[in-house]
Symmetry: C2
Subunit: 187 residues, 2 copies
DNA sequence: AAGTTCATTCAGAAAAAACTGTACAAAGAG
DNA sequence: CTCTTTGTACAGTTTTTTCTGAATGAACTT
């Protein structure tokens, strides 16, 4: 008995469904400091039934292999994707980390703690520069401005101090005892 | 008695100190979905002794007034900057929100909850599309793939559900009872 | 060793984003 | 009402980012 529905038609619908998700993901990954095209690549690998080679990604995404290489490395560094080994397969194989808590929380923590550290450092440097100038200058108006700047920076510093502790909450996994992981519905 | 230090020299040092902070800020604000140049503008207004007009910003940053207008609106929408009124002044005046917890937490919450909502929506849509296809297709191989996709999406959905609750923690201010605000040193 | 098969490097092309000047409209002053 | 002053829209330019194909070299095969 022949099929009622066309296979290619159904494959198209499958692709369209997957694309709905992947496109949205691509639009939002910049918050994790990842480029849209790397986000699309993530989606592609995510839906793949088995680990993918660079050539397969290239064909699937209709983009150059060079881009696949570049983007997969970005995902690899962010720990969102991992390399897997299969006996007899020479090409590099990649799959996405199954655990979204791991992959996304991790990249979040990494990027934000970097940024927070750098900002704290910058505030510290600025304060040092200002304090030195404060001691050396003889112009009252300069001293006044420095005073104002220093107290503004204190406010900012306090915020970043707080933010650093918040990031720690995620890094240590303590956050999960406050907001528990959700177990996915049909497991 | 004449000054030992040159005024312009000291002003330069002041500017350099401020710039150390502003430049770093500009490099990192993309995590809040704000462009570097808007970040630099924020820094400029932040250090200003008094509220600034678009023309002043333009002069200070050596950029076009058009850009100031565009960027200040971005900051305004993110609630990082507010418009203030002074009697007799026709030009629009802007200052930064003093409370960094307010301005930065707020923009964080806004951008992340938007992103989370959109992703959750996308997952929901994708699941609907897949479920419909599941019911209508007659190809076993398609059904198998859909099955796999659905369980992968469950995992992702659980993560976003969790993330939404985390964002709520910030939105409600509950986070401050877990990680208390730091009071700035010399207040 | 010679010949493949890969991934990656690099320089240039293509695309996207940021920035600017002109033009215009709204609001205020005389 | 006319003449300024001020903010913004828009089109075009500049700058930055992303993408690609050819070249390279490493690793594997025979």
């Amino acid at each position: 008995m022949a099929s009622q529905t066309s296979l290619t038609e159904d494959l198209n619908r499958l692709a369209a469904a997957r694309n709905r998700f992947t496109s949205e993901l691509a639009k939002n990954v910049h918050l994790y400091n990842i480029k849209p095209s790397a986000g699309r690549l993530y989606g592609t690998v995510f839906f793949s039934e088995k680990p993918m080679t660079l050539d397969e990604m290239s064909r699937e995404m209709e983009m150059s292999k060079t881009s696949m290489s570049t983007n997969i490395r970005e995902l690899l560094q962010a720990d969102m994707v991992e390399q897997v080994w299969e006996k007899g397969v020479r090409k590099d194989l990649y799959k996405t980390e199954d655990d979204w808590y791991k992959s996304f929380s991790n990249v979040f923590v990494t990027r934000w703690s970097e940024a927070t550290e750098k900002n704290k450092k910058a505030i510290c440097d600025t304060k040092t520069m200002l304090t030195e100038l404060m001691e050396e200058t003889e112009h009252e108006e300069i001293r006044e401005r420095i005073g104002g700047d220093l107290s503004k920076l204190d406010e900012a510093e306090a915020y970043y101090q707080w933010l650093a502790e918040v990031v720690d909450l995620f890094e240590s996994g303590e956050i999960f005892s406050i907001v528990p992981k959700k177990t996915s519905g049909n497991k």
